[in-house]
Chain length 265, copies 2
């Protein structure tokens, strides 16, 4: 989805886009839906013919490809990735001078090129490594801006710590809530009594485990810390309910509403 | 929002709708936007002229009005409410033979008549008390069906226990997550690094405390039990992360995805 959305946006901005996917049906859909000008027959053919290379793969596959590229440097003058963590990809790309780790803060629980959209990145933040080498860094900024996204420089470690809070925690919370609903489903008429609130709170639960496993593995300590911080807030709320002190939750509701209103719409 | 949406839907179905609101500006907006045929000058005037009465107020105000109506029974052949808990309203309406407690499982974090929509209830479940007396019960079913909602009979106690899971828990989780984000906001660039996932997980945090306080007060034990159940799932997840056993989360992701896919779209 991210790769094909980038293809659609880059083609609309005047880039010529070739693509390759390990799953031929994905590349075929991307070509049919206009995300590509053409398909390469192999990764080698793609690497031989491309000037700028964008890797749109799950984290573990991104790291594996970067290690392979580092072993035999590609001709591309720019290599970016879009994976959700930047410390592991920086480590894998340490010998690639044309590499800039990036992360579009956009997307959805859906995956695959049929879910792509040319407007996916418009107005969204798209981070790039603050310390990436020039001239690759400037090229990355140009490509990001061409999609309509806002390029924001973030250091890799700071990125990964922040995303533990802003992305990995909400993912686990959505999973936990959907799992709790699943546990209690039988005999409760639970499905019929779920409204739009439960629907939006469990939307992320459709996001694939295969994408999340490497993210959670590589960001374990920061994510665990955020889960513990949330448990602490929920435990105080449970204690307030159990002690009949509901009014003590007002400050929590106020902080939450004020914070939600500061988020980008 | 619920009252004006019901007005829009009922007028579209051929009902003639008069309204009254303690806040005159709310009634003025409802009239301007076509949710009402006319405004009553007072609650007494409304009660004297109406055949079917729908009370669309927060839980505590609903209970207060029902106690007042029970003291001097209104002429209406049907009285329904739309509050989020059914046990407290049933207790307050015990001497009102024309009363049926109902609950549309629809809505949003927004409030007020300007946020109303004629289609808000289309395809949604709208519960009514399984044991409410006839002929009021049949009239309630007719009114619910006229909005495009699906009338579903639920016993009051079962309703309130189920909603602790399907509505009150996701509300508190959204609040806790937004509050955690608010705690950690400074120095993290947290706002810029929040994407659509955090946005949907904190959408409910805009829902007003004044509406939630009486719900949480009246459903304390059931809500506390659900919060504890969620804490237990999150604690297991935190332990798995801390112990480097991320793969043990796969079953949780699978249960969550399967449950989310069963929810009404």
């Amino acid at each position: 989805m991210i790769g094909a959305s980038l293809g659609l946006a880059a083609r609309a901005a005047g880039f010529r886009v070739a693509g390759w996917d390990e799953w031929p049906e994905h590349a075929a859909v991307a070509l049919e839906t206009g995300a590509l000008d053409g398909r390469a027959a192999s990764l080698e053919e793609l690497l031989a013919g491309c000037d700028w290379l964008a890797i749109a793969l799950p984290l573990d596959a991104t790291v594996a490809l970067l290690e392979r590229l580092a072993a035999s440097p590609p001709p591309a003058r720019l290599v970016i990735d879009v994976a959700s963590l930047k410390v592991p990809v920086r480590a894998a790309a340490s010998s690639l001078p044309s590499f800039v780790g990036t992360h579009p803060i956009a997307g959805s629980e859906r995956s695959g090129p049929a879910a792509a959209s040319a407007g996916l990145f418009v107005g969204r933040v798209w981070t790039y490594e603050a310390g990436a080498p020039e001239p690759a860094r400037s090229a990355a900024i140009e490509l990001i801006a061409a999609t309509g996204a806002r390029p924001v420089a973030v250091e890799a470690g700071e990125h990964d710590r922040a995303l533990a809070l802003t992305s990995h925690l909400p993912q686990l919370v959505s999973i936990a809530l959907a799992a709790r609903l699943g546990e209690a489903w039988e005999g409760r008429d639970a499905g019929a009594l779920c409204g739009p609130g439960m629907a939006s709170m469990t939307r992320l639960a459709a996001s694939p485990w295969s994408m999340w496993r490497p993210i959670l593995e590589q960001n374990e300590p920061a994510v665990a810390q955020e889960v513990r911080a949330l448990i602490s807030i929920l435990s105080e709320a449970a204690e307030a309910l159990e002690a009949g002190r509901v009014e003590s939750l007002e400050a929590l509701f106020e902080l939450a509403a004020a914070t939600a209103s500061r988020l980008p719409k």
